[in-house]
């Protein structure tokens, strides 16, 4: 495909990751002309999801540097005082290892062969960045306001498990009740524990009606001390403390009483909105959301061009004036780019390393009559780490063939124990044998500047459980860059383009 790109647009967006897609849709929705480019032939960038047949693409992201003859050729497109700047190719996803794991039970025929013969390889949707949505969180709100919600469906994450570990029994996975009904029916909690939990929930309900200052007063001297201390003085025992901190509090890492209460209220506010669980997972995986926002951008006039090599940007007087893609020059007033593309000369202000492992299995970590979407907070097993969690999703979420599961382990790199170690302990305890796995490091790179005043660097991949910070960062970036425009305003109910009488002027053209 060698169609010409437009000569000039308001905004060029580089990369189709979720933040870039959100920003592209916000720009197009606000009436700016947008050209959205990606070197890859698929949507999603570092936020992609892949079928099992296509997942090798994640390792084939090699872009060679421009050599001197290429640079001089591209320089012919420059005018007076303009400077050519090569785009970066940061290692956002690195140390990728992917392997099929031989199993005794597959001796006759390897699982890979079984899946290929049954045409099941494309039934997988393997996420690089698996997250969940909070039912009353910022992402759901944005999806509904913009009506991008039309393009997506979700499943309740209908099971939360709280792991406990003892030397004798190893790791036990305890189901966690979320709603009042579930609490009363739970046999994991004693009568006393149920009463204490209901008391805590009642307190949360009252506390959430207070303003911040008043709320802080109610917590008194506990406000900035560990949440566990506050729970203890409320009469919550150690086991239930662990449940509350690890489940209700999963939204807040290492909570103080103040942050733990805020997270708990947020959790409870979402319970019951779409179902008994506060959490949702996108059908076909999280990479689908990038496509949803891209569709909105396209419907509002954005042009898409995938698989096009994006080579360089052009700078003049401290501003970017153009992008060079496939030898074409596209003039623009702004650039939005994935952190991946920030020129190598610009230093990152910080980089957080996130450990990620994905396993494919044919048995759930906790068998149930009906298939569950499962979330585990592993914080109690990795107290030194900021983030440790497991997400198990399968056929019900359209991320694996029937009877198969993907288990996503995510952790920040602190302490002696890795999330990989814990995941594999859980597998061993529950007789789960993965047949495939992929591990990699995701680098969450932040930039204070991108080297020019009209460049917007989209938020990086992160280790957060849900999407609130991504959405809010996109909103901030948009409102800072285009203060006079609305960020994905609440849409009027869209009228279908009904059959109508032809306009007079149109007839005249025939």
């Amino acid at each position: 495909m060698d169609e010409k790109l437009p000569e000039s647009v308001d905004v060029v967006v580089l990369g189709t990751g979720l933040p870039e897609a959100i920003l592209a849709s916000a720009c197009a929705r606000a009436g700016l002309s947008v050209l959205h480019l990606d070197r890859n032939e698929y949507y999603g960038g570092d936020w992609s999801s892949f079928t099992m047949s296509m997942v090798h693409e994640v390792t084939e992201n090699q872009v060679k540097k421009l050599d001197s003859s290429e640079i001089s050729k591209l320089s012919e497109l420059l005018t007076e005082n303009e400077q050519l700047i090569e785009l970066g190719n940061r290692e956002i996803v690195e140390n990728i290892e992917m392997t099929w794991i031989p199993r005794g039970k597959d001796e006759e025929k390897p699982m890979k062969t079984q899946l290929e013969e049954a045409s099941q390889m494309r039934r997988f949707s393997i996420d690089l960045v698996p997250k969940i949505l909070l039912s009353k969180g910022a992402m759901v709100q944005t999806l509904c306001d913009s009506q991008v919600s039309h393009y997506a469906e979700f499943k309740l994450v209908n099971r939360q498990l709280c792991p406990t570990e003892t030397p004798e029994a190893g790791i036990t996975l305890n189901p966690v009740p979320c709603s009042k009904g579930e609490i009363f029916q739970s046999n994991a909690l004693s009568i006393l524990e149920k009463r204490a939990l209901m008391k805590f929930i009642t307190f949360c309900t009252q506390w959430s009606t207070k303003d911040t200052e008043e709320g802080r007063k109610l917590l008194a001297e506990h406000a900035d001390r560990p949440f566990s201390e506050f729970l203890e003085q409320m009469g919550v025992g150690k086991t239930l403390q662990s449940f509350i901190i690890n489940t209700i509090g999963i939204l807040q890492q290492r909570p103080t009483a103040m942050t733990g209460m805020l997270a708990s209220c947020q959790f409870m506010d979402s319970v019951g909105h779409f179902g008994p669980s506060p959490f949702l997972f996108p059908l076909y995986g999280c990479g689908e959301l990038s496509q949803c926002f891209c569709r909105l951008a396209a419907v509002f006039g954005s042009l898409y061009c995938l698989g096009r090599p994006v080579q360089a940007i052009v700078k003049k007087d401290g501003k970017i004036t153009a992008v060079i893609a496939n030898g074409d020059r596209v003039n623009c007033r702004y650039i939005v780019m994935s952190p991946r593309f920030v020129p190598e000369t610009v230093p990152a202000s910080s980089t957080l390393k996130i450990e990620r492992i994905v396993y494919a299995t044919d048995k759930s970590i906790k068998e149930a009559e009906k298939e569950q979407l499962t979330l585990l907070n592993l914080a109690s097993l990795r107290p030194d780490a900021a983030v440790s969690r497991l997400v198990e999703v399968g056929f019900e979420a359209c991320t694996a063939p029937k009877g198969h599961f993907l288990v996503h382990a995510t952790g920040t790199q602190e302490g002696e124990t890795s999330v990989k170690t814990i995941a594999e302990k859980i597998f061993e305890k529950n007789e789960v044998e993965p047949y495939w796995k992929m591990s990699f490091t995701a680098n969450s790179m932040k930039f204070d500047t991108a080297g020019a005043e009209n460049v917007v660097v989209a938020p990086p991949v992160d280790a957060n459980l849900h999407y609130a910070s991504v959405v809010e960062e996109c909103r901030q970036l948009f409102c800072t860059t285009w203060p006079e425009l609305d960020f994905l305003p609440r849409a009027m109910k869209k009228e279908e383009e009904e059959e109508e009488e032809p306009e007079t002027e149109e007839i005249a053209e025939n």
């Binding site: 169609e3 393009y151 979700f154 009904g181 779409f274 006039g301 061009c305």
Partner: protein
């Protein structure tokens, strides 16, 4: 997919895909509004055009005709666009031979992303547009393209001269109706038990009273 139901109307989702400049949007506009404008661009902010089409004395269908909206610079579409599609129209430009190759690439992309319940491709027809202009695409070649690539029909069309378009859409509508009668459309995902649609008020009302 069973037919989309909305106020008792029977709706089918029809995709229109093909390379840039082959006339996809002009075809839609001719069919839906019976006008042609070579300067026409996709309507901003609209996913699809709706056409009410009588297919015989007793049957009327509503076609949701989805345009690509600027996502056609490379032959890869979002699954979002393809989701729950009942049928597709793939367009080539009779005067530009390379759009033939593009049409076949679009067909491959379509078949990879959406299937009938038994795994076979959704019905797709091939339109050779701009047939009013002198071109080298013969009937034999068009028929070969149809039979060798899994199309269920092919038509010469001109959006400008209003040639072949009505016939093409009626053919496709009849094909979709017989495919549905054969039970080949899955229940749309949004109707499957347990799926959450953020826009669905009935889902919300079932949990209107907060559990805790």
């Amino acid at each position: 997919m069973a037919a989309l139901t909305n106020n008792d109307k029977i709706s089918y989702k029809v995709l229109v895909i093909g390379d840039p400049g082959v006339g996809k949007t002009s075809i839609i506009r001719r069919f839906v509004h019976n006008v042609f404008s070579s300067n026409y661009k996709t309507t901003i902010g609209v996913d699809f055009a709706l056409k009410i089409l009588p297919v015989d004395e007793n049957t009327v269908v509503h076609l949701q005709i989805w345009d690509i909206s600027g996502q056609d610079r490379y032959g890869v579409m979002t699954r979002v666009y393809y989701k729950d599609a009942h049928a597709a129209i793939i367009v080539l430009d009779s005067t530009r031979e390379r759009t033939i190759e593009g049409a076949l690439r679009w067909k491959t992309d379509l078949d990879q992303k959406v299937t009938l319940a038994d795994g076979s491709p959704v019905p797709a027809i091939l339109l050779a547009n701009k047939c009013d202009i002198d071109n080298k695409l013969g009937d034999d070649k068009l028929y070969d393209l149809e039979t060798n690539n899994g199309f269920v029909g092919s038509f010469r069309t001109s959006a400008k001269e209003s040639v072949g378009i009505e016939e093409a859409f009626k053919f496709l509508a009849n094909t979709v109706i017989s495919t549905e009668q054969g039970g080949q459309y899955d229940v749309p995902f949004m109707n499957r038990e347990g799926n959450v649609n953020l826009d669905d008020n009935t889902t919300h009302s079932r949990y209107d009273s907060k559990c805790c």
